[in-house]
């Protein structure tokens, strides 16, 4: 059974089992299979041999899952898009992906209610399964292609390591479907006939509702960014008493702070805490490690673990020579979980991907080193940063700022606290100025930029300058700007 067949077989074994819960709406495994089959047939009839991707634009609706599976069952990859993305960003992604169709929950409901048939030509092994768009340094989002084989390799590892209870798990879905952390909860859940419990925007914005929802969720497997757990921990009642069934916390997307791990271990004495690491280009996560009290005590920062079986990680220097343990260099990932590359961008693909011993390999641009046989992540080599788990290229924000009519030039830097980026600050040279107060100008720029970029990429702080400080060789002195923050 491949992954798609495995998900489908639950419709026979446990047709009434709940696959997804979101804002009070549910989807059973039977509904998931029959609706995704119907949608696959609709797509096949409408597009025939045209296998261009299907964009799926929504939030946490159960229809999203129907559309993801419907697309791949018709032999087409899907491009997940969250409604929080601004229209201009969506347009850029649609243009790059050459999506044949954009499906919204309303369309999906309509097209999946049609006749049920058995779709014949689902996505296979090395064919693209999903395409996930991430920030690109020049202001153009880039689409990471993940094949069915990549995803299966990742999921097989997760299932073997975590030993989820089939038909017994409730997975927390905190990340939007347009962010690959969600792939971890979504497909581990569907592969084991679990229930996916989504945190919608409405819950995120209303802490009172959020905690009430968590308390009634029955979550057994918590999957989130460390930032989200850190936020939840501020409430003292966020403990085993609120979530008595939690058995494990799985973290990915950003650095897990030792304090967060320690607090979780204390408040959830019966749960395991796992740290994982990996870029979108290598299918969600490549390394993992269980963080127990001993590790918290011994290491700060925490290690990110060992690579999954079948994949390898090595550390190289600037000349691409492999380094010994304890030496710091670039993290290279190789194995069947590595993406074939960026959609329609052979230039970017050639820069970041190469072949190694019969496998694809990816240059992460991350610094790291092995110590005591486990990998430690030590930051970025370039200007990519993570804010609350979201991957952002500073160049992307700068390029979009410069495209605004009142902006002459812009430099964007992270505001860091305890070594972690908390938010972005923009240093702006204005071409013209009509507003009087800096706050009003900043508010206007942020609003305009919000039409081009997702909210998590918008600078919080704006500093207006007449000129940028320069280094001796005539470049913008980013270090001195950073110092002024």
């Amino acid at each position: 059974m491949n992954l798609i067949e495995r998900i489908d077989h639950w419709a026979v074994v446990a047709p009434e089992a709940i696959a997804h819960i979101s804002d009070g709406r549910t989807l059973t495994y039977w509904e998931l299979r029959s609706r995704s089959n119907a949608l696959a047939c609709y797509l096949t009839q409408r597009f025939g041999d045209d296998r261009r991707p299907i964009a799926v634009l929504g939030h946490r609706e159960p229809e999203m899952l129907v559309a993801f599976l419907g697309s791949v069952k018709s032999g087409r990859p899907y491009v997940p898009l969250d409604t929080a993305l601004p229209q201009q960003r969506i347009d850029k992604i649609l243009a790059t992906s050459r999506a044949a169709l954009v499906l919204t929950p309303k369309d999906i409901l309509e097209f999946s209610a049609l006749q049920v048939c058995s779709p014949a030509a689902a996505v296979r092994g090395d064919e693209p399964f999903y395409i996930l768009f991430t920030s690109g340094s020049t202001g153009e989002p880039k689409g990471v292609i993940i094949t069915l084989a990549c995803l299966e390799h990742f999921i097989a590892w997760m299932l073997a390591e975590q030993r989820f209870t089939e038909l017994g798990e409730v997975f927390l879905n905190q990340a939007p479907f347009s962010f690959d952390l969600s792939v971890m909860d979504l497909y581990c859940c569907l592969a084991t006939a679990g229930s996916l419990f989504s945190i919608s925007r409405d819950l995120l914005e209303n802490p009172k509702k959020l905690y009430r929802a968590l308390a009634s969720s029955g979550v057994t497997t918590w999957v989130s960014t460390p930032s989200f757990a850190q936020m939840c921990l501020v409430e003292e009642r966020f403990s085993e008493a609120m979530l008595p069934r939690v058995r494990r916390f799985l973290f990915c997307g950003e650095t897990l702070a030792p304090q967060t791990a320690a607090q979780l271990l204390k408040r959830f004495p019966r749960a395991e805490v796992w740290n994982t690491y990996g870029p979108t280009e290598a299918t969600v996560a490549t390394t993992s490690i269980r963080i127990d009290a001993g590790i918290v005590e011994r290491y700060s920062p925490l290690p990110v673990g060992r690579p999954m079986p079948g994949s390898e990680i090595f550390i190289v220097n600037g000349n691409r020579e492999v380094l010994a343990a304890n030496q710091r260099g670039e993290i290279i990932i190789t194995g069947p979980n590595v993406s074939p590359g960026y959609l329609a961008r052979p230039d970017l693909t050639a820069n970041a991907f190469f072949q190694h011993a019969g496998h694809r390999a990816y240059r992460t641009g991350d610094f790291g080193r092995f110590r005591d046989d486990v990998l430690f992540f030590e930051g970025r080599m370039d200007e990519q940063i993570k804010v609350t788990g979201y991957r952002i290229e500073l160049g992307d924000v700068e390029a979009n700022l410069r495209a605004l009519p009142t902006v002459r030039d812009a430099v964007v830097l992270p505001v860091t606290k305890k070594g972690a980026a908390q938010s972005l600050a923009a240093f702006v040279l204005l071409a013209e100025r009509h507003e009087t107060s800096d706050f009003n100008v900043a508010h206007k720029l942020r609003t305009q930029l919000g039409e081009r970029l997702p909210a998590y990429m918008l600078p919080r702080k704006f500093v207006f300058l007449d000129a940028f400080p320069m280094t001796a060789n005539g470049k913008v002195d980013r270090a001195s700007l950073a110092k002024s923050l």
Binding site: L204, P207, Y211, R212, M231, E235, R237, T388, F439
Partner: protein, 83 residues
């Protein structure tokens, strides 16, 4: 503690979380609407308020309406202090 000191301190905490001095200038700034505050920042502010004044605000009982503007935050915290 005299009233003005308390308000000032609250505004300082708010300004540092929100990363803008506008909160001093406009006490009726709609914090959530202007995206000056969000869930993450509200929680940061809750932590700072506890550290500074010893006031415990439970995120599980928190409603955005009570902290909609700088003025409302000051009023709410003053009320909690007096309890």
């Amino acid at each position: 503690m005299i009233a003005a000191d308390f308000s000032d301190k609250v505004l300082q905490l708010l300004a540092s979380v929100a990363e803008t001095d506008e909160v001093f200038a406009n006490l009726d700034l709609p914090l959530y609407e202007c995206q000056v505050l969000d869930s993450m920042r509200t929680v940061q502010l809750i932590l700072m308020v506890e550290e500074e004044f010893g006031i415990k605000v439970s995120p599980a009982e928190f409603e955005r309406e009570t902290w909609q503007t700088p003025r409302k935050i000051i009023a709410d915290l003053r009320h909690r202090m007096s309890m």
